[in-house]
Amino acid sequence: MTETPIIEFTDFTFQYFCQAEPTLHDINLKIFPGEKILIIGPSGSGKSTIGHCLNGLIPFYYKGETRGSLKIKDQETASQDIFSLSKIVGTVLQDSDGQFVGLSVGEDIAFAMENDCVPGTVMHERVERVSRMVDMDHFLASSPYELSGGQKQRTALAGVMIDEVDILLFDEPLANLDPATGKTAIEIIDDIHRSSGKTVIIIEHRLEDVLHRPVDRIILINEGRILADMDPHAMVSSDLLRQNGIREPLYVTAMKYAGIPVTPDLLPGHLDTLDIQKVAPRLETWFKEVKPIPPKQYEDTSLDLHGVTFSYDGITNVLENIQVNIHKGEMLAVVGRNGAGKSTLAKLLCGFIHEDTGTITFEGTSLSKQSIKERAEVIGYVMQNPNQMISKAMIFDEVALGCRLRGVPEEEIRPRVEKVLKVCGLLPFMTWPISALSYGQKKRVTIASILVLDPRVIILDEPTAGQDFRHYTDIMQFLREINRSGVTILLVTHDMHLMLEYTPRAVVLSDGKMVADARAADVLTNMKVISQANLKETSLYHLAQKAGLQDATSFVQHFIDHEGKVRA
């Protein structure tokens, strides 16, 4: 290309003042105007740091030492401040809730103009125009609480586009979205890229979801270095993904299980481009050669919900006639879109709120008369955000807290805590302060602090949210071990991989009603349930359909069974 790059890193190295090692090493990267680039890497790889360097948060907010050069539109960024950079690079942060500055959509879109002292009438006219581009012109007066995740993303996008920036930077746009909204977000980004011709940079670790729409190049980063810079087909075919803790698309894994050598000439980067003729026969043989494994049978009942109905205000039922029988030793997923009643169900089980009608029993005894504290003896609850649970400075104290509150003698606490920390792989850190731990480790601490109370059932709210593949696998393997030791586990989740890989059974809620209670493979291939729960159909299902296999649902189940064997 003879064009001049819009972004050019030359031998760029960056080290945060608080770190011993540079986070980025010798980055050399050119991005040209109008390109759509995906930067992938596991947590801590340095991919977010690249984003911060581009939008000026480094060095404006995060301080550190820079070597080499980073030019944006032929200007050294070192000589510019965050405000002038924000006129070139528009950043959409990962948490579309947290970055909602205004109290209404219109106000939020106008925020950058307000800071530029644009007069009121001009502002209203421009907000009107930009909001039409993202289809939000009918929601200008809505407050963030009334919007869906996708609408918040659109608003955030409009908020940066209002500045007529040349580069749109998306920092983990999928992290907090449910599968259906994530899919829409990728479509919105793609539409804007096509219609505006702006340079788009997406920083993510969820490769398959981003590849729902085309990208020009994928840059793989790990340990602060660029390891690969290739097109999607080459990237998906390479072993670098697995080696660096990035999950490859599920349909690619399925092809590998079927013994198909995945090479760039199959065009495997997207399911639409994949040369299905070449792979269909092998897929079919693989599908036919294995007998289905009968699902595991359970005998005893742990929790039983019978006709449970609940409403906060006495008018609208948040949960209606919920009927579930959870077996002892089961691991099951509770899924549904935001506001479907998942958290309410968890709160009912813990006794934070009480059902209006219906009964909840645990191993045959009714829970209705039991207080929060009494229920907590058998049912443990782990919140999504570990920072909302941790109240002690030291790991040992945090895990011991529940025992101490219950008046367990100190000499008994120590062995209990040690045992739990060992199970959670935290024993070496026992005397560490919690502040020294990573997010994933904090999550483990909170699970440990519940496990130490020896509950029979654990409810976890979104245990894998915001985790990369390696941490996801760590946490889920760990939960599986706990589950095998006899603890019943309920996972409130959006994560479809989690359902496919770990929870044989899924209960789906929609508008407070239970719309499905079935195998994960059935749920993720049932269009009606998928749209009710804001999920999306798994790519395995599409692969099977494209390959002309009759029973796509069984194909998905077959994949799950096969994976179970590979992992075991």
Binding site: L93, V101, C117, P119, D313
Partner: protein, 277 residues
């Protein structure tokens, strides 16, 4: 959704339509009037007015229930302590002494003291609804733009508006954290002694602070990235101009304020109204 303490909700009423600045000015006029005057008749007039305002602005009791209980508790404690420390204060103000009952030691109940304490309670009872109306009917952003319109630094105005806006979120986080900690065995009921309850409160407040700081970090980044604080001035997307409704409200409240001053100066000749002479 659960009704929360302090959250703005738009309902199309006269009170909601007023600009934030008007409401602030009216609130201050009426508050100063009540704070200045110890005339029970004046205070009762304002109490009636604030009750009417509450009805006009269609605030439901469920929205303010928690707050009302807190206030009632506070008033009760306040009344007991006032009597305990200054049982003869009414007598010293009104210069007469009509004893009703002789209690123990130096404590006896006088009409003067009763009247004084009744006045005091009514003062609070008439002002607090006004505060609630102000918070529940004012759009935080619009209030911020009004504040900055009268010369308050825009960073401060914006901070005020962000605080009002995040209040409901923080409350929700508080409930969530408190429930999760109770499930770990924390005792929050009256059964625990004060020291234990203080320690329990820490178990909620520490995670609340840390998760709030996390949010602040995020919102700061989001604001920096969109140029907040670049200039000494900024414009506001939401801005209400004063119309005749605002002027009417202002005139009415100013009238009440000066009326109160006039009653004290020309009729009572002091801040107190004395029915005993």
């Amino acid at each position: 959704m659960k009704a929360r303490l302090f959250s703005y909700n738009f309902v199309n009423t006269y009170i909601h339509r007023l600009s934030g600045l008007t409401k602030l000015a009216c609130f201050l006029f009426l508050t100063f009037a009540v704070m200045f005057s110890y005339d029970l008749r004046v205070i009762m007039v304002i109490l009636v007015i604030s009750t009417c305002l509450m009805v006009i602005s269609r605030i439901r009791f469920s929205q303010i229930r928690t707050m009302v209980w807190y206030v009632a508790g506070f008033l009760l404690i306040n009344a007991i302590l006032t009597y305990f420390f200054a049982p003869e204060y009414g007598v010293s103000i009104y210069k007469t002494r009509h004893e009703l009952v002789d209690l123990f030691g130096k404590y006896s109940l006088t009409s003067e003291q009763l009247f004084y304490q009744l006045t005091q309670v009514m003062k609070y009872a008439s002002v607090i609804p006004l505060g609630m109306i102000f918070i529940l009917t004012t759009n935080p952003s619009e209030f911020a733009s009004s504040l900055s319109g009268v010369g308050v630094n825009y960073k401060i105005s914006f901070a005020v508006s962000l605080t009002l806006r995040y209040f409901p979120d923080i409350q929700r986080a508080y409930t969530d954290i408190s429930q999760a900690q109770q499930a770990r065995g924390m005792e929050m009921s009256a059964k625990a002694n004060p020291w234990k309850r203080f320690k329990s409160a820490l178990l909620i407040i520490i995670p609340l602070i840390f998760s709030t700081l996390e949010r602040i970090d995020l919102i700061t980044n989001a604001m920096d990235l969109r140029g907040f604080g670049k200039r000494n001035k900024r414009t506001w997307y939401i801005r209400k101009t004063m119309n005749h409704e605002d002027w009417t409200a202002l005139l009415f409240c100013a009238f009440l304020f000066f009326g109160t001053l006039a009653v004290s100066t020309y009729i009572n000749h002091s801040r107190f109204y004395n029915p005993f002479i």
